[in-house]
Symmetry: C2
Subunit: 388 residues, 2 copies
């Protein structure tokens, strides 16, 4: 990065089933909150992370639609799509607009409206577009079934029982209780997890993140722009890194070594000149509990096959070695797919600002977010540091 | 831009109705051609311009899908969407990846498969997602009808007869004859234009670009990367600029002053330190002939209401003051929507390399491309210069 990039504003809507709000209003609420938090009036550019609007809301072209509705008509705006990693990829586009010297302030917005679609097709066929249409979906597999295949292989290969995944969901729900923006603000027990409705074996309802609506936004600024904003909260972007893998699971080199998770994290560590031990808080992508385990392993927090051990040993809790899903994660805060990457960043920034209240990770100075698209085909990793 | 960015490779498929080829194969053919032309083996990142795959091919997540199929598994990849300006916006993402110091080589690919969709919905409802779903499309207007409204207003306001638009289509078809990648390689006459089937008055079949399939790709490199590529053709990116307007026509400040066209062009001229007179060749966005007139006016080549005069006076021909659509434009080369912005850039680069054969614009040294999304809600303008 040829210039320093800072996060100076965050905003979000509560995640839920917003039957009375469309994409435009959800996106606007997050933009309004983030811009008010930042102290600027209007950014130079807007990048929108979204996956499903074209199918479910019959609305492409969200960049100008939301820029205009926010009162910023004329600014540059575009949508960035990388399935469920769209939010992280939109944030990365914002980082580059500033780092390239082509913008001073940018807003990255993630917005998704998964309920109440007016467009063609169901939410399940929409989510399936994250997988390989020709080699996977055409043959009848759903997106959750692809994750179930990975989880089955994991349990068999590493001899891990299903109950060892329970602590991921228990931790996420516990942390969501104190997050007013979370969808499921209630604790669950291991017993409830083990008895949850089966969806696609071994994935049950409490292994899965919900179908929901929400929007989150982040305001980025250059160091130069910050000179005019002496009061702005400033969190520095230390690393912004993406990597990819085959979209189709069958084409992976090894089913349980998510190469893009590792490549993206390694690139981020190298950019930030940090190692896993330096990370104080980690917002990972627990779309299904299996992805939480693979993320911890790929990022170097646990050896292959030992991601669930970390969860079972309490290392992922707020007071643990590497707290994850500190505001509820995808499981309990919610997973409005194209918005999730920005929610993860909002949660990391909240921690680094020391603003997480009852969920505050003590002395959190360095935070990481990781946004995963498909079954690991796109992975976007960001590392942030509190300044001063 | 904090670093210089060059175009070192171009590739394209012929545009047409490719009933035997899907997105993956079309995209791959363009990538293969561009990378062979560039002299590099693998880029650091791939940005895909696409609008309709999620609806028509039930395939999102094109970044990793195409990176993997090209043999580049692991590299960063994402899709950029801005309706019909997706290709230009993807190219701009590539410019920034390099200008920010975060990549040395990048491929921008535009790919669209409009025929033979396996997904939900028709091509017309797909194209309509470029407009405002709530305020335009819900009420029954189609995308061509929105353009027809602009053309009606133009003809009435400026007292311009329909036949004055004919030279745009005649010029485009004439230039397409010599382009082996063009969809319609045949000349048309003013008489044929005037008698063409009416679609949405006053727009007839020969005012309109076709529904088609195609892919085009461009390889970008930093100045540092070029030091290892002494034989690479090098065209410098002088400017990369975007602007937006309301998506809905009814919300525009003035219907016939496309503010985003002007804002985007003015920003590009300022970045390049050039004025309209300096441009030798201009690949504009003639999705409908009305857009060609508005583009010439907004970019400062003609006064408001006089865009068609330029066409009638032969100033847009290959030997004219400002040649446009030199390889056939959207009208006759073809308009595979999300790919078009990259095709425009490929055509400009072809001219600046002096490789346009029978269609070569004499002494072309500075070229401009302008990619328009919706009825002018997103406009992306690029200016290029031949080096040496």
């Amino acid at each position: 990065m040829l210039r320093d990039v800072y996060v100076i504003g965050i905003g979000q809507t509560p995640i839920g089933e917003w039957w009375d709000k469309g994409l435009r209003l959800l996106g606007f609420e997050a933009l309004k909150a983030a811009i008010a938090d930042s102290g600027i009036e209007k950014p130079d550019a807007l990048f929108v992370g979204n996956m499903l609007a074209e199918r479910l809301s019959s609305q492409a072209h969200l960049g100008p639609l939301l820029a205009d509705f926010a009162g910023w008509r004329g600014i540059e705006a575009a949508t960035v799509e990388a399935a469920c990693a769209s939010g992280g990829a939109a944030f990365q586009a914002g980082v580059r607009a500033i780092a390239s010297g082509m913008a001073e302030t940018v807003v990255a917005l993630g917005v998704e409206k998964m309920t109440d679609g007016m467009g063609d097709g169901s939410i399940l066929s929409g989510l399936a577009t994250a997988a390989d249409a020709d080699y996977e979906i055409m043959h009848g597999v759903t997106f959750v079934a692809l994750n179930a295949l990975m989880m089955q292989a994991y349990m068999r290969e590493y001899k891990v029982p299903h109950e060892n995944f329970a602590p991921f969901s228990v931790n996420a729900h516990q942390n969501a209780v104190n997050n007013p923006n979370a969808m499921f603000r209630k604790e669950i027990t291991v017993e409830k997890y083990l008895n949850a409705t089966m969806i696609s074996p071994p994935i049950n309802l409490l292994d899965s993140s919900p179908i929901c609506d929400g929007a989150a936004a982040v305001v980025l600024a250059s160091g130069d722009a910050l000179r005019n904003l002496p009061d702005a909260a400033r969190i520095k972007v230390l690393a912004s890194a993406s990597a990819t893998d085959s979209v189709s699971l069958a084409e992976r080199h090894k089913l349980l070594e998510a190469e893009a998770i590792k490549a993206s994290a390694d690139k981020a560590y190298a950019m930030a000149k940090l190692k896993p031990d330096d990370i104080d808080v980690f917002e990972l992508h627990d779309a299904f509990s299996i992805m939480a385990a693979l993320s911890l392993e790929g990022c170097g927090f646990a050896a292959p096959g030992h991601g669930t051990d970390m969860a079972c040993d309490g290392e992922i809790a707020l007071g643990g070695r590497i707290p994850v899903c500190t505001m509820g994660g995808l499981k309990a805060r919610g997973h409005p797919v194209g918005a999730t990457g920005v929610y993860e960043i909002v949660d990391v920034i909240t921690q680094l600002r020391g603003a997480a209240a009852a969920n505050q990770v003590k002395d959190a100075a360095i935070g990481m977010s990781q946004n995963i698209g498909g079954t690991g085909a796109t992975v976007v990793t960001h590392i942030f540091a509190r300044e001063g």
